[in-house]
């Protein structure tokens, strides 16, 4: 049983097989979609009512208490930011706003010097910002939603499952599944690999690349200078979970190779780099 729904700004596909029959599989899939919708409600930067929007609107003035899941995803994002020397940074929202990729809620002026280390956990759940900034978990929350959906399927007794959120994909089962990777330049499936359990995520600027004010931009921002990535390089990361895979694609795209290799090794992950294709 395989279904697809538009959520998280993309098509999210869920496949589940259980010996208990089709309606059991359908129920498990419904529960997995409900979990994804819940995570989206908490962590969406587009929804003014989300936990993340509350954090962004308030934490530079006073500490905000986050829900357990949002706190966990933010803490993981900050850990990868520290390990990668800022090559992955969940506080690039100011740059994305300037490029017109993210909505502006309220009228707070963001501090262009703000970075990940200005996000401070006072305890497990209480967070404040040392400078006015915006956190965007878009580079990582989708992977987390995929992981949680897969966990829901596992708890429901599903024997074999795949969750694919527009290319952020995680699965488990007895037999390996063939996963195709898109060529970043053409969008066509170009390479493939077999995966039995675990996760894969892919990033390439070409998936969001466009011309704005006569200049080529994309949604992938180098956190260190705010410049949008416009090269055609594509990166896929295979890891034990999709949250890790999702974050590490950005580390590999932006970190110096030695640092990227160290962060990958520390996470037990592997990267597949598809070099730049034809220039746009």
């Amino acid at each position: 049983m395989r279904r697809a729904r538009p959520v998280l700004g993309t098509l999210v596909e869920i496949e589940a097989h259980t010996p208990r029959g089709e309606s059991a599989a359908q129920e498990a899939i419904d529960a997995a979609y409900a979990e994804i919708a819940d995570i989206h409600r908490r962590m969406s930067v587009h929804d003014p009512a989300s936990e993340l929007s509350e954090l962004n609107g308030t934490a530079s003035r006073r500490p905000v208490v986050l829900g357990e899941q949002t706190a966990r995803v933010l803490a993981t994002a900050l850990r990868f930011a520290a390990e990668s020397g800022g090559a992955f940074d969940p506080t690039v929202a100011g740059h994305l706003q300037a490029l017109g990729s993210l909505p502006v809620h309220g009228d707070d002026a963001l501090d262009p010097r703000a970075r990940w280390s200005d996000v401070q956990f006072l305890d497990d759940r209480r967070v404040r910002f040392r400078r006015p900034l915006r956190v965007d978990l878009g580079g990582i929350a989708k992977g987390y939603a995929v992981d949680r959906a897969l966990a829901v399927l596992r708890c429901a007794g599903v024997r074999r499952a795949i969750v694919n959120a527009g290319g952020d994909l995680a699965l488990y089962g007895r037999a390996p599944q063939v996963i195709h990777l898109r060529d970043p330049a053409s969008g066509r499936p170009a390479r493939s690999l077999a995966l039995r359990a675990g996760a894969i995520a892919s990033s390439a600027a070409t998936f969001s690349r466009r011309v704005r004010d006569g200049r080529m931009v994309s949604d992938l921002i180098d956190p260190r200078d705010g410049a949008p990535l416009v090269s055609g390089t594509g990166v896929s990361v295979v890891a034990g979970d999709c949250l890790t895979a999702d974050a590490l694609t950005k580390v590999v795209l932006f970190a110096p190779p030695a640092i990227a290799a160290r962060v990958l090794a520390g996470a037990g992950a592997r990267a597949i780099v598809q070099p730049s294709g034809a220039a746009p």
Partner: protein, 175 residues
Amino acid sequence: MGSKTRWTWLPLATVAAAAPAHAMVYLSVEQAQRLMFGAAALEPLPLALGADDVAAVEHASGTRYRTGALRGWKAADGYLYVDQVVGKHDLITYAVALTAAGTVRQVEILEYREAYGGEVRGAAWRGQFVGRKFGDPVATGRDIQNISGATLSCQHLADGIRRLLAVHALVVAPR
């Protein structure tokens, strides 16, 4: 973390053939009906829109209305619509369940077909779907199921749902 993950490269020849298609049939119309409305009886809605209706729907939704794409049914506690949207690279058939009050309760993709290099808008490529029944197996050996690396934006799906809601609000609900 996942250092136990085992993975291997596969030969690339299987996907190197010209114009591979990512195509999936998820649900038939009947399966979607069961999923969304259980065993409840559904009565087909006549959806032959007059020129005035089409103009009103296009104005309200900001999208073009394609005659014949939309089908609808009325249930005791809501409505089911099945529609098709054609994007630059893909064609999506989808079902929307509305409550009796006309708000979206559930969206399910019935069929997704992707092609590369603009084939979707070409008549020849689209011709593949003429006469297809929902639930027909996706036949070709070149169909690709799991892809990592997004190009999907779902924007045209959002446009389709907006148009469908305009049809419901302006044409069906006032009847």
